[in-house]
Amino acid sequence: MRYEAPESVEGAVALLAGATGEARVLAGGTDLLVQMRADLVDPELIVDIKKIPETRAITEDKGGWRIGAAVTGAELKEHARLRRAWPGVVEAANLIGSTQVQGRATLGGNLCNGSPAADSVPALIAAGAVATLAGPQGRRDLPVEDVMLGPRKLALRKGEIVVSFLLSPRPKGSADAYLRFIPRTEMDIAVVGVGVNLTVDGGGTITAARVGLGAVAARVLLVAEAAQAIIGSRLDKAAQERLEAAARAACRPIDDKRGTVEFRTDVAGVLTRRAALIALDRARMS
């Protein structure tokens, strides 16, 4: 098993594109090393992307934020300005695993692990985050909701890596929130996860919204109908009910030990409403 730690995006792409056997990108390693240990993967080549400065930086980008794919949960939490601008994205990333896992786990890894229950992904989708990919043909931008196609299946082409995520500038009166349901208070995999990002005008009416729903389908969903259900409202009782119904209607979950289809669908409605209320409170205070 070969290990390489290139210092440039081009170097990483060349290694991955030239690989003849199975090749894996190593960021935080909190999924990859577990999968290697369990003999689920046996890569011939591991490309560690943490020595590439672009993957490790959080920078302001024309009023928005660019977050490197290999930035850890702990680093996101410690970044006060990013946390103020995108509290939902940061709180979602911070729900992944323990303190120890937070010291290593990354946004890029959470997305590229390809789990429908990934915590940071619904929040990134709600935030309208765009992933910047680099590959043998150059760079391209892909909305986060288009990166994952299904469990462990990504839209990335051979040799392509996620370099960073771009979060656009925040309009006034705008905020996000992420909630997940697990059977305990910490250290578990989402039964349902939901990110809501919204903007309100001076009168408190919602003018824009995005809703990302996780663990209720084969991929994390962008639920346009849920956003439509609250745009133009002040999130009164009727709008909340429409939101819950739209979130539930989007669910195509599986039955497993963490929750039944019926339970997941019900919880998706409740959590979406609660996350929207938190985002609304934050938006009014922003």
């Binding site: 098993m1 070969r2 290990y3 730690a5 190593l26 935080g28 390693g29 909190t30 090393l33 577990v34 290697m36 240990r37 369990a38 591991i46 560690d48 943490k50 850890t72 702990a74 695993g97 323990s98 303190t99 120890q100 896992v101 010291g103 290593r104 910490e186 250290m187």
Partner: protein
């Protein structure tokens, strides 16, 4: 393929070792450097028995490859006591009987030290959340949490 030649610092001392790609930092610490204080519990990042500091960051050494740590600083349980003088947390764990079998203890101590360096006056909730990635099947956690809380109080400068 040839083994990786890695130079790093462990508890302040320069070390060099050879390792295969698939060897974890925990494998290297225990089997190559013979620092067996860090324990192997689950090998999947769930139990925290292998907790170490990597460049000042608390991590599970079972989730780090040995070949990743070139040029980096690692702190393990072996560096916690200074000679015969136990770290206050080690003393606190003894006084509170915050251990039985002892397998989880090095991980708890390394993790608790990391917490107190960042948060000298943690609430009980903060202690419990911070240590959620360290599993103990003997104590029921209360004695561990009390040990950390009391040691934190004792370590704070008196007003």
């Amino acid at each position: 393929m040839a083994k990786h030649h890695v130079e790093a610092k462990v508890n302040g001392d320069p070390v060099e070792f050879l390792c295969e790609t698939e060897e974890t930092l925990l494998d290297v610490l225990r089997d190559t450097l013979h620092l067996t204080g860090s324990k192997e519990g689950c090998s999947s990042g769930d139990c925290g028995a292998c907790s170490v500091m990597l460049d000042g960051r608390l991590v599970c050494s079972c989730l780090v490859l040995g070949c990743e740590v070139g040029g980096r600083q690692i702190e393990t349980i072996e560096g916690m006591a200074k000679g015969d003088a136990l770290h206050p947390l080690q003393q606190g764990f003894l006084e509170h009987a915050a251990l039985q079998c002892g397998i989880c203890t090095p991980g708890f101590l390394v993790a608790s030290k990391a917490l107190l360096e960042k948060t000298p006056s943690p609430t009980e909730s903060e202690v419990r959340y911070w240590l959620a990635g360290n599993l103990c099947r003997c104590t029921g956690y209360d004695k561990i949490v009390s040990a950390v809380m009391d040691t934190a109080a004792a370590m704070r400068p008196k007003q």
